[in-house]
Amino acid sequence: MKKYNLCFVPAYPLQNVQLMKDRVVFPYACFKCFGKSFTIVSQAVEDYPYLSYLDGALFCALSCTDTISHIHAAAEYVAEHALEIDLLFLFGPRVEYIEVAKAYKENNSNGRIYLKLDANAELMNALPLDHAPYADFLSSCDIISCEALLVQQLIYHKWQRKVEYIPNGIYLPFYTDALSARYSDKENVILTVGRLGTEQKNSHLLLYAFACAYPYLKEPWDLVMVGSLTDEFKEIVASFSKEFPQIAKHIHLTGSITDKAGLSLEYRRAKIFALSSLIEGFPNVYAEAGVYGCTILTTAIDAAPDMTDFGRLGKTVDSFEVMPYSKALLELCQNQRYLEENFSRMRQYILQYFNYEKSAEQLRLLLEFETERTEGGVSYEHIEQ
């Protein structure tokens, strides 16, 4: 099996927390699967304690100045080290990458670029496909993947090019305790994890939906909200606590939980994982929740069919109104049997399709096919008639 020297260049300077997100964890899983080396190239903007989880990965801190931006320095790095990189990972279809991709291909024509789109339909519809340097950048990417089936369908029709489906998942070695999770450990807990109160996360929908459902619950349930809070959301919560003091006792705002063990405990005891986002690519937290057997309740984001296996493993609420979301939440809470049966089904689904070790194998095969195609296979140029 060919071993690759892998390099990941973020479009913007990397933050520590992103080291545990798809943009780094998936390349890292690839490194463990078929890599010889793995280098993360970024301007260093803070300490990176999470690097300790990434055994064998190298962090190359770019020297940036007022006149040399992160991306400019990254392009210079890539040009200089192009021949030492077999596979360049890019994250997001960002115009900033035009320079980086060009620098790489000009200096290593045999090198491969893998672009993980981190896509939602809205972003995909806004890309400047007719802009020549940008179109050239997309053409220079040997393998492109997106995270949701709906987005893949949209891109096929818009771009008329191959875009692989590689959803966000989990890297199991980081979740050694997940396989020992039992349904009997679970409590009547609804969990959400994210940057609470941001416009995108739409957290107040979940808060008020819980309040509306609460009086009708046969058993007491708690809502646990993990993540940093915006000032606006703090005000919303304060006002909510005054309005519904009895229900507020059942709402727990933990703040951000940075240690994996602490977060695992929350997943382990939650029965329902709730997402109320207005828009999302593919939430990183989904597969984490799934591997602990949480049933998913989500708004109709692009990845909702993937996350619920078209409704088999959870519920999707088509509206962003409180009452429909509350009704769906109540239905799930009242159906303990479904939640219990779903525990194993959900975990099996995650291990089958949202497992970065398998996705890494998938990418390795795709690279193999691509190499065969370009090094002697049939070339199918696009035919315009």
Partner: protein, 326 residues
Amino acid sequence: MNILSNEQGIYLENTSGKDNILLIPKPDYDNLQNLTRKPLLRSYHLSFPSLWDKTVSCAQAIAGLSKEPTVTAGAEFIFAALYAKLTSNSQRKSILCLDMPTGNGLIEILHDFIVFVNPANSMMALSSRSCGLSAVQDRSCHILLCCLEQCADFSALCDAVCKVRPGGFLLFYTFGQPSFPGLSFLLTPAKKLSYGSFTLYETASDTNLFSQAAPYTTDAKTEKTLNDIASIVDSLLPFFSLSETPQTADASLYLSSARLLSDLENALLSLYDLLENTELPLLVNRLKRETMYCYIAMTGGDDYIPYENKVKQQCAALIPLLEQEF
């Protein structure tokens, strides 16, 4: 750059002191090369311009389009070449313009002249990026006029060459170097006319030229891809028949099939604009992914049955769609 006309013809004025360049000689009545239905030099009804009046006015209008001498000279050469072909006989003519720049007024003047010579004449201005060429019959046009710099696709250029009937004319022009290396079969035998960076290539169409262009046309490429698809689908038959068998655990079959599905997907995407069912490439991609997952599970010692079941389901759905399409 000025245009001069006198009893001898229309000239491009040479400001560098050299001789003026004769663009179009004034026709004679006894010139049997000029048999259009239009009054040649003088109209009996004075309110209607003669062919010669119109030719002069068009040449002057073209001169007013640009202050750049090379551009003007190039446009006048194109006009002069067209004039000669359009007025050579009274047959109606179909002119195909490929990748002619629009917005500078030249196309409008040429069109005005073309339909003046014979209202039954037609002119089509198409882009090599458009699908318009597929609507034009092979060997149906009399003249092809193509701006090589603007032409984005060699196949489209060969398509256009095949649209010209034997005995017709091909006019290629460029303000720089010809863009495709494969053009030599078209340009080498052509008559060349240059002014500064501008070059006009003029060649007659014949069956030999047609047969040289034919292998590079879109139709030829499509046919080749269709043959490839047929061959890939043939190779996939053992895989497709999985849907009828209870269980198979041959990892190598899954790997080779995923590879073939990848090729099939490429081939289908290359024909995307022609597909009736545009979901086909995506469906093949999804089957390929499931097949890869099945292979990964088999070789990794995992339970592959759930993947295999999905592969079978997806195969069963895809096969009739492929049959329907091809």
